[in-house]
């Protein structure tokens, strides 16, 4: 069993940004973005995105985006590596095993926006297709600001239906489907003219085949694919505090608590500073610390036997600590069309602590990664 971490990138930022939404309204904007990820276990991902937002009328707008993920993943360390049509399945992406980029994914999304006064509604759909996984989803959100938009409430939800088609030709039991329902809510409250709080909450229900179809465990007594419960329900609450602590310098602090029905809990703390170095140049630096406890059915790798209902080799269900550090900048070249163009860049360094499950799977004691984002936004 092996594989599964498909580092594919797809993101649809759409809801839960009420303050920004209320402040800016529907914009005519063309966005291009290039994301790059690389780590010490051989995964590289190149992910370009193009997006278009267009105001259609006084109240209506349209958002579209199209992303391609090109994944070049590590060679497989465990297993026979034999996949569909004789291709080799790599250890990380679970993709086709072709030379060069192992997997491509396309992911179009489209949404409509309705806005009137302090009310805003957003709803849409996305489709995602890769060599062994296909997903279709619908999403929507409502936002309302009151008390001169000193308080903004948002409610959102999404439903995703997906199906595996494992490249190993493995039949998945009891189903090859995966469904996810998510409900989000947020509340933003201004404290004064230079600070505010934002509270976010999410409820997520996942059903179906929730393990990776590729991860497997080999110890002294068994060689088995990962098996997880077919239902997982989780709750997460995050509180963000933003304050201008000095003229031109803002501080963003955030804490998130998570727990689920697999007995996992996590704590995430983030801190970031942004500084207006010049009128058209903002720079930032940040740190993030993450800690999770293992799922209740996770055992030490050598303790699993054929009697176990659930088997886990994936480090992501184990006790885990990670840290990341990043820098960023946003620049509006004033000589181009009255600052209608923004260039944004960010770089982050990410690493896990030493972890026996990572060692078992990747042959490295920890994962060390870099990720880079370069984006250009044009308001027309």
């Amino acid at each position: 069993m092996q594989i599964v971490l498909k580092i594919v990138f797809i993101s649809f930022s759409f809801a839960l940004l009420p303050f920004k939404l209320m402040a800016e309204g529907i914009k005519d904007q063309l966005t291009t973005s290039f994301d790059y990820y690389s780590d010490n276990v051989g995964v590289k991902v190149y992910s370009p995105l193009i997006g278009l937002s267009k105001r259609l009328s006084e109240h209506w707008g349209l958002n579209t985006s199209f992303r391609i993920d090109a994944i070049s993943a590590a060679s497989m360390r465990q297993g026979n590596g034999q996949g569909k049509d004789g291709v080799i399945v790599d250890a990380v992406s679970g993709a086709s095993g072709r030379l060069g980029f192992d997997d491509f994914r396309v992911a179009p999304t489209i949404s409509a926006v309705y806005e009137t006064g302090d009310f805003r509604a957003n709803f849409g759909t996305y489709f995602s297709k890769e060599v062994d996984y296909t997903a279709l989803a619908g999403f929507g959100s409502l936002s309302y600001g009151f008390n001169d938009a000193n308080t903004v409430i948002s409610l959102g939800g999404s439903y995703e239906q997906a199906a595996w088609s494992a490249t190993t030709n493995r039949a998945l039991y009891p189903t090859d489907e995966k469904r996810q329902t998510q409900v989000n809510a947020s509340l933003l409250q201004l404290i004064d003219s230079t600070s505010y709080l934002q509270l976010r909450f999410s409820y997520t229900k996942q059903e179906g085949f929730l393990a990776s179809p590729y991860h497997y465990l080999v110890n002294d007594t068994i060689a088995q694919f990962d098996r997880y419960p077919e239902l997982r329900t989780s709750y997460a609450t995050a509180l963000q505090y933003v304050n201008e602590i000095y003229e031109g310098l803002s501080m963003h602090l955030e804490y998130r608590y998570y727990e689920d029905t697999w007995d996992m809990k996590s704590h995430t703390v983030k801190g970031e500073l942004f500084y207006d170095l010049m009128d058209n140049l903002m720079v930032g630096t940040r740190v993030r610390v993450y800690n999770q406890t293992k799922a209740g059915f996770v055992k030490k790798l050598n303790d699993y036997s054929l009697d176990d209902a659930y088997i886990v080799s994936d480090y992501r269900l184990s006790d885990l600590q990670t840290q990341s550090f990043g820098i960023s900048m946003s620049y509006r070249p004033g000589f181009i069309d009255d600052e209608n163009i923004a260039i944004k860049m960010s770089y982050d360094w990410y690493q896990t602590d030493n972890n026996a499950y990572i060692e078992n799977w990747y042959g490295a004691s920890q994962i060390k990664a870099s990720f880079l984002n370069v984006a250009l936004a044009y308001d027309f």
Binding site: F12, G94, R105, D148, S193, E244, L249, S328
Partner: protein
């Protein structure tokens, strides 16, 4: 339930704050700047809201929504 109490406590705390403050529209100049946005670099947020859930075992309550791949 513990999680319910925590969420309600945070929610009520935030609501209570609303009763003791009012920022007029003309006082929002600083709040409207990019560095004060909840999400100043939206493209980066879209990117990282996929990275972290792939590399870690838990996710949720992010400022962006992501989904669609078999990586989690």
């Amino acid at each position: 339930m513990k999680r319910g109490r925590t969420g309600i406590l945070l929610l009520l705390s935030t609501i209570f704050l609303s009763a003791c403050t009012h920022v007029a529209p003309y006082e929002k100049e600083v709040l409207a700047t990019q560095k004060m946005l909840s999400n100043p670099l939206s493209e980066r947020t879209a990117f990282e809201s996929h990275i972290y859930p792939i590399r870690e075992g838990t996710s949720g309550a992010e400022s962006g929504f992501q989904g669609g791949c078999g990586c989690k």
